[in-house]
Amino acid sequence: MAKDHLLYIAAHGYSEDYKRFYYRDIQAIITRETGVREVWTSVFVVLAACTALIFAPLALKSRDGQALWIVGGILCGILMLLSSINLLLGPTCATHLRTAVQVEQLGSLNRLRKARKAIGMLKPLIEQAQGGRLTADDIMTRATAMADVAARAPSYASTVTRKPAQRVHYAGTAHLTLFALLLVRTVMRWSDFFFVHIAKALASYPLFIGLFASIVIALVKQRNSDVPKAVQGLVWGSLAHLCVMFYVMNSYFQFLLALQLGPQAQFDVWERLKAVSAISPWTNQFVLVTDVISGTVNVLLAIFGLFLVRDFRRSSAIMAGAVPPPAREG
């Protein structure tokens, strides 16, 4: 907060953008509670529960149960700690600042407590710059007068019009590729129930990289495009699922290989690959559970995604006039 303006800094990694809002120009500050805190709390609790459900049965059945209890306990503890911190920080909110030409969201004021404190500091400065504060009667009187003016001269209100956000048409090719690769990955994972082979383990690496790359491309392409929100959500869901499964499986295999292979063989890439490729879901409960869950999620994401993208492409083609609309009965 400077003497005559509020400096808003938006940090983007290694660069910053600055916007200055002069106190004399600020018309209103709007604070609205959001449910982001509850969402994140639910995410942390569900992840902790999943971690406990995965590690507890393994620890009970395993000979080296103590190590698994410790690892599982640490992971659950970290997740519950994050959840507690999230709860202690208080309710979340969205804060917007309005001037004559813009409504800007102040992203850093995303907690109600922090936002109220900041607004408490800003209000006297703004009121001083604008020559006084408004009482409730003042607001009612002026709002009524403004409404009368607007009713008598509607063209004034309509001169400032907002252009709708420009949306680029996108055919959804990257999304089709992504959902197709998800199906391929599911087939590969579920084929472990029939046979395991080192070639499949080798093929899974480029498939994973291709899947990740297609997610990134789909996310970039769908930005500011006319791809339906449902499809966009499925892409984000695929990314979240991929990250969670990568984290879970990688952690588990690191732990398992440390037990199975000796300290020297652990750093031998070929030995590690052979050991991982030999793991069958019929002999390992953890892999069985994750194969079933992951495969089911992949199939659901892929099928919904493929259907939605197919419908989107059809409707886009009809709108473009390339395909005649389906004939209506009656």
Binding site: D17, Y18, I30, I119
Partner: protein, 159 residues
Amino acid sequence: MQIDVFPALFSPPARGQDGEKLLVDDQSSCFYHPEKKAVIHCASCGRFLCALCDIELNDQHLCPTCLETGKKKRKLVNLENHRVQYDGIALSVALLPLLIFYVTCITAPIAIYIAIRYWRAPLSIVRRTRVRFVLAIVFASLQIVGWAFAIAGLMGALS
């Protein structure tokens, strides 16, 4: 929901000034609009300006050209709306590659180059010190020294 309203919400928008037309020949005219009467001069270049060309910023009256120049050359701090944090980049280039240790032989010199090349570049508006540059140089130098020892040891083992 909480809405804090201020008097500016009910104030009509300020009308811009068009500039008065020049009626008498012996009056000064605007440099950019010869048919308009000059009301003030630019604090930076001294050119006469009409009410339309006069831009008031930080209690100074400037012409559009000086405003644009001041923004490009970063002389007008209030107009600066973007900065790159080279100190953060240098420190990240020095530290992050440690995760994939072998690339530090390439990234350590790069980190030192970035720190020296952009030492005088403006830092973040809120951050004041160059400690990240110093840390980047220190960590990168340690990595280079480590590589030197490793190579010397390897050469000694080979010979």
